[in-house]
């Protein structure tokens, strides 16, 4: 459980996190979604006490991070794959951090195996690819077998195999009742990994909802193909003012996309009027659409 109350962080004149409130629950994967500069990384740094909040608090399982007796067992964190000295081997890096908590050598070997670093564990980190660096970062986060796992952009630089592996790993941790938080600016990644999404934009919480709500929260569209499309359109428009119809692209045949009407209602209207339908498909708004709609105007650096 991670709780932020009135959490605010200024860097000089710039406000990175602006009076944010959220609760991240255990037993599910929560995603921080937002464009670059939205405050995802800053919020995570505040959670583990790397930066000091300008106002407000953030606690993990009811405690401030800096007051914990065994921080690595409470929270595992991947903030930046570069949080490693390039001159050290992966094993030395893990051993050095494990030593602070008297975590046994056996656990170091375990996380090396778990993250697939066995073959390169004794090589210097400077020569690692971005993907291997990410795996080492994840291994570091798992060292203390933590109850809460916070990963900033964990799939950055991973190959497809690695992405799948991280996804399964995070789902597994959530199923064990741990709190899992990951950030991404990729909507598709969130859709496949997270149960719950907190959308950030310009340091504020734009949305905080289960991913299913976020996807269906957009307006439902219905795609209709019919040889009697024009007739159907006039009946639909005549019945309800708020329905919006868009003709299909010419290659898709005769029909339209209706916004603001339920798929059942459209089917009933067609049946009542004896209109032949070739297709009647509800189109869920993609997370991408929802995300773009939510963060429009919240993007710090817009193109053009």
């Amino acid at each position: 459980m991670i709780e932020a109350r009135g959490l605010t962080k200024h860097y000089g004149q710039k406000t990175a996190v602006d009076n944010v409130n959220f609760t991240i629950k255990p037993g599910q994967v929560t995603g921080f979604l937002g464009p670059n500069g939205a405050g995802k990384s800053t919020s995570m740094r505040l959670m583990v006490g790397l930066d000091r909040p300008s106002a407000g608090t953030v606690t993990v399982n009811g405690q401030r991070y800096s007051e914990m007796n065994a921080p690595l067992s409470e929270v595992g964190v991947l903030l930046d794959a570069k949080g490693v000295h390039p001159g050290r081997t992966a094993r030395s890096h893990l051993r050095a951090l494990a030593a602070t908590h008297r975590i046994p050598e056996r656990r170091v070997n375990e996380v090396i195996e778990l993250t697939g670093l066995g073959a390169v564990a004794n090589k210097r980190v400077g020569g690692f690819s971005l993907g291997m660096g990410q795996r080492l970062g994840i291994a570091t986060a798992l060292l203390g077998d933590p109850k809460v796992i916070i990963l900033d952009e964990p799939v950055n630089g991973l190959d497809p195999d690695g992405v799948l592996w991280v996804r399964q790993l995070l789902r597994h941790f959530a199923s064990e009742g741990r709190t899992v938080l990951l950030s991404s600016h990729l909507m598709s990644e969130m859709a496949q990994t997270a149960d719950h999404v907190i959308v950030l934009g310009r340091g504020r919480v734009v949305a905080d909802a289960p991913i299913s709500d976020l996807i269906s929260g957009g307006v439902t569209k219905v795609r209709v193909r019919s040889p009697q499309a024009a007739q159907l359109a006039s009946v639909v428009m005549g019945g309800d003012e708020s329905v919006d119809l868009q003709p299909l692209e010419s290659g898709d045949g005769e029909g339209f996309t209706a916004t603001g009407i339920e798929v059942q209602r459209l089917g009933e209207i067609a049946a009542a009027n004896g209109i032949v339908l070739h297709e009647l498909t509800p189109i869920a708004t993609s997370l991408e659409d929802a995300y773009l709609a939510l963060t429009r105007g919240e993007v710090e650096y817009a193109a053009g």
Binding site: Y65, P71, H85
Partner: protein, 289 residues
């Protein structure tokens, strides 16, 4: 690179049933800092070069001294105690003047490498209270630099004995012992000076520049300023680390016009403590990086 196979069992805690609970402790942080420093190849190489350079300079110094004795034409058995003491300390503590720079740089690296690599984020995530981390770094740096300095001094005495065996008579004199200890303390304090400055600046280049400035540039500047008649110039010059180091390396003897041994030790300690304390206060109050 191998592909990780997904094995849920492996994620289970390995502590179950072993009775071992991970817990943050100062002893653990100390062990961590020791692993951090000794696992860096650059640190090991710098240390090795320090030892080789130190020994080489001791040999050079011994050669220079020996040629002087031949010139003086006094048989070694008739040399006064003071000459023998000067020989021992001259050979053993002479390299400290140059090694000062390397020890300062070692101190800089001990903390600046964390900032240049980003490792500081991992370190502070593991030790969020920060004070134990900083203290452990100081202890490990002081131990490693102290052991290295002392070992170099003892090796230097050995070299001095090889060139002038008669000087063995003065090996345990208070002057020689205080000189060797004073010179070692000087090097440790310089390492801490570099450490403190780097903790303040959080930069390798900045830290090294300041260390070089204090140890080598300032003395030259002061030398130039002696051409003026400003009264403060010799006073300031007397309290620069380079002067203090040579006083400490001469042992407890009469120092005409210069601060004495104990005052020099105190002054050198202040040079080390001030930046180290400021660096600590900044570490406590600033964001991680």
């Amino acid at each position: 690179m191998t592909t990780a196979t997904y094995t849920p069992q492996a994620t289970r805690s390995s502590y179950a049933g072993t009775g071992m609970t991970p817990r943050l402790s100062f002893a653990g942080v100390l062990a961590s800092e020791r692993i951090k420093l000794t696992s860096l190849r650059s640190f090991r190489i710098t240390l090795l070069l320090t030892v080789l350079g130190g020994l080489g300079m001791s040999v050079l110094s011994a050669l220079a001294f020996s040629s002087q004795y031949e010139y003086m034409g006094v048989p070694a058995s008739q040399m006064p105690a003071e000459t023998l003491q000067n020989h021992l300390l001259g050979v053993a503590t002479f390299p400290a003047v140059f090694l000062a720079l390397i020890f300062g740089v070692l101190g800089v690296f001990a903390i600046s490498s964390e900032y240049s690599s980003g490792m500081i984020l991992s370190s502070l995530a593991a030790v969020p209270a920060r004070t134990p981390l900083y203290l452990a770094k100081i202890v490990v740096l002081a131990c490693i630099s102290g052991i290295t300095a002392l070992a170099l001094m003892i090796a230097g005495l050995g070299i001095a004995l090889v060139f002038l065996p008669e000087s063995a008579a003065e090996l345990t004199s208070s002057v020689v012992i205080s000189g060797v200890l004073g010179s070692s303390a000087y090097l440790v304090l310089l390492a801490l000076l570099g450490f403190g400055v780097a903790a303040m600046l959080r930069s390798t280049a900045g830290g090294i520049s300041v260390v070089v400035g204090i140890t080598f540039v300032l003395p030259v500047v002061m030398q130039f300023l002696t051409l003026t008649s400003w009264e403060w110039v010799p006073t300031v010059s007397n309290y620069l680390p380079m002067t203090l180091g040579s006083i400490l390396g001469s042992g407890i003897v009469e120092t005409q016009g210069l601060p004495n041994y104990w005052v020099s030790l105190l002054a050198m300690a202040i040079w080390a403590v001030v930046p180290t304390v400021i660096g600590y206060l900044l570490l406590k109050s600033r964001d991680a990086k």
